[in-house]
Symmetry: C2
Amino acid sequence: MSVLRLPLRDWGRSYSRENLSADLIAALVVTVMLIPQGMAYAMLAGLPPQAGLYGSIIPLLIYAALGSSSALAVGPVAVVALMTAATAGSIAEIGTPGYQLAALWIAMISGALMLAMGLLRLGFVANFLSHPVISGFITAAGILIAASQIRHLLGIQTSGKTLPEVIPSIIENIGGIHWPTVLISALVLAFLIWSRKGLAPALRSLGLAAPTAALLAKGGLFLAVLASTLATWILGLDAQGLRIVGDIPRGLPPLALPAFDMDLITYLLVPSALIALVGYVESISIAQTLAAKRRQRVSPDRELIALGAANLGAGLSQAMPVTGGLSRSIVNYDAGARTKLAGAMTALMIGAALLALTPLLYFLPNATLAAIIIVAVLSLLDFGALPRAWTYSKADGAAMAATMAFTLVMGVEQGLAAGVGLSIVLHLYRTSRPHVAEVGQVPGTGHFRNVDRYEVVTAPEVVTLRVDESLYFPNARYLEELVQQKITENPALKHLVLMFSAVNEVDTSALESLEMIQAKLRDAGVTLHLSEVKGPVMDRLRRSDFLDHLDGLYLTQLDAMEALAPTLTRDTLARPRHEVRKPGA
Amino acid sequence: MSVLRLPLRDWGRSYSRENLSADLIAALVVTVMLIPQGMAYAMLAGLPPQAGLYGSIIPLLIYAALGSSSALAVGPVAVVALMTAATAGSIAEIGTPGYQLAALWIAMISGALMLAMGLLRLGFVANFLSHPVISGFITAAGILIAASQIRHLLGIQTSGKTLPEVIPSIIENIGGIHWPTVLISALVLAFLIWSRKGLAPALRSLGLAAPTAALLAKGGLFLAVLASTLATWILGLDAQGLRIVGDIPRGLPPLALPAFDMDLITYLLVPSALIALVGYVESISIAQTLAAKRRQRVSPDRELIALGAANLGAGLSQAMPVTGGLSRSIVNYDAGARTKLAGAMTALMIGAALLALTPLLYFLPNATLAAIIIVAVLSLLDFGALPRAWTYSKADGAAMAATMAFTLVMGVEQGLAAGVGLSIVLHLYRTSRPHVAEVGQVPGTGHFRNVDRYEVVTAPEVVTLRVDESLYFPNARYLEELVQQKITENPALKHLVLMFSAVNEVDTSALESLEMIQAKLRDAGVTLHLSEVKGPVMDRLRRSDFLDHLDGLYLTQLDAMEALAPTLTRDTLARPRHEVRKPGA
């Protein structure tokens, strides 16, 4: 299969010294960002800090070998870390071996699922997450993530995963607030928020050239880590109760298959599938956006394979689930990454840091990591999306609101399931009562439009219904009832034409309904005709005997009207150039 | 609400002596059929025989008061009895008070759900059961029902609810076969099968008038019951191990609320919803078919209310879940029932039988009831439906096959859930890769058809894509990729027209994709135009700012072509009268 072809040859052919230096700079910038972010997201996932660093080595190498995006930066990300914590936390207490085992199996299972879906070319299932659902989910997840970090910012203990659990827990424990922690949190937060916009201009005003300043400004995280670590060490804040990262095992990640536990794997199957879905959708959206900017293409199926293999690598190297991250990918792209080799270089640099630098991270405050998480999720929040979706479509707005409400109140899995379920049910509901327009001829043309919207010509003995929906099981009975009603309403009716220009499918249920309609019309002495039936629908209908009993079948609606109401269409020569609209329609 | 208006006044106005005698005869015929059938379906449901008789009193009176079908005969039916047994059997052993309580709560809950859905006018959810799924489910349920009765026919003990459980259990216990039981079974089965076609001619050849013979022939069940009961009593077969019905409590059903048990109710919620769905769909199909024959209409929402109340009545009167039954309704209709009063009369006759006749049923063999069940389900089996559906549509055939396989192997709930789930997923899958045709002008007309199917005129600088599907989340990304491909394939492309004649919806996800397409085209120097956008879609698009950035919007595709490729459409006067097809297309 071509999706499996290793893209290494592409590099060899075109990889220049210029690409090398661009990739090296990007890798360095991403590494400086990824070390604190990886540790922060590991904390968010309830895992030891090295899980985040390990998640930035083997998975990145695997993605570099298999992926199709040149700019995507793979690694631990906030939303997937939150979902991992929600699932692992429903099995065991944070910090226990059972919890860590669950996290490893989540990576393994979601990786295996992505890999399988990529090989089977099932990437389309990601489309079942509609934009409003994913957008509502990400915003709600961002709120939950921020809420979960308040305890680290305040230096208190809280419990719970949803807002109705976390907020009372914060209020209850607010008395135990630890002021040195709050101080560090406030300073780091303020600096990080300022540095997003203010650091580059500040560096320029210190005399640095604009490109250099922009590049160094990406090191804001690093500065915050450095300053808060030094402050903690010098002032001995850890002895005063400031929580710090502490010991991180030195050296590269150990490779091992997680302990096998069939019950655990069965339990994790559905949550891991949801994590895989969210991770994939997040990643592919970023990859496609960045590829479009460079007029490149990403292959959805190859992305699934690459992310799947990367997560298997994460599960085998004591890491956490990974996917493509938004902020990091943008930094990677902006810093000039030319090829996927930048990701591999990042992995090597993180590996080097693990061999040499872990003692330096001993005094890093958890509060700094929490502030890093909070600032990262600020970019996920999009509160304007809900009113936008609601204005455009009540159904989409409702699906989005339900996703957000369920995620915040019930949890991430429930929120996602509610959103997907509701969007499907609303779609089925909408198509179960399709728009059906009675149409007439736009005078002097071969064009037919809705009698309620346009000034059109009709004949009393002919009723033409344009069904604005595929005919399939949710609406099979609806058309039957509508036709029944038209027969009752129009005693003059002799011919019924169903205009099929918008009918893209007629399934077995609808075929049976059409046969019922045919029988009812025959009993009522009305003939049944079809017009403008599309090729694929016609091919399908030919497999049944429905057409044999049909009274008429016309290529165009005008043909039908000329045959059934010949008095109407004498004057078809003059074509008006503009819409003939009823006033007020 | 008009659906709640009691239809009693309609009777009073028009009820004649002629109607009375017709209804009385129909009621008598149905009663003679319903007494053995009710007991048989109670046995199938794992309940004492009186549950079936009680289910033929209060529920029938309630339906007569509230229902909208004049011919529907409500009462215990085979498929609902099987589903009741499957659900109650997963809670308690047959014959225990817990089992009977579960059956009562199934009636209560499914009744309450139907009532609520009727009041909320949610009858449309029944449409989510596609015809192939319901047909596959009914056939598979018929097979399971027949399999479950083999033990009664052979006089052995078996266990299990699915084919992989029941068949080995029959083989294992085949040694315990009871020959007198087999003999009774064989005779009754042979007589019932013969009597379906042979009894009426036989009665005529005895000199009876044809209508009288046809009416008496409906009493085949009664004759079988009478003969086998007498034989058992006279020959003392029960003492030789033939299983018989035994004591039936004399008198009318006791009215009482079943013992309240919140855990039980919670557990029963989903299975009861499925039972309500199947019961409703079965009943409404029968009611609509019979109503169409008499040019009457049934109201889906009022049917839900009537069936819901009838099931609540069943739950309150120690009965079993009920719905409209096919064979009984046809008998009711054929016997001449004019109004719903026939149902009420049936209920009174069953009540009279319970007061007077129960001792006569003491010696009725279970084998006779099993034979009655088997003959009844023979009419449910439709093995031809699967190849028919498969020929017409692979997706429908697959949904039907999956429903049958899951029902037979996993159980009724699983089968139904698999069928509904698979039909929805297959629908989403199909619409996620819509048919998109590149179209050109049928020469000399305002009509545009697929360039691959028709000999049409196109211009190199204009590509018109007719999207044969609503644009919504499952296919939002698909169109984006397709347009990308068209840009790459056609270097001469200057204008892209999306012909929206078959687009019935553009949801938020698709709107965002259209905006992406717009941006991509602008980057590539291609203009974007829409033609033949339907009213409801246009109303929706006006709520966004998409139209403001659009390069062109045309009422008809011909307008679009005249504007973008003016050289093509000079000669639009002559309209050919016939299809211009490519040879071999």
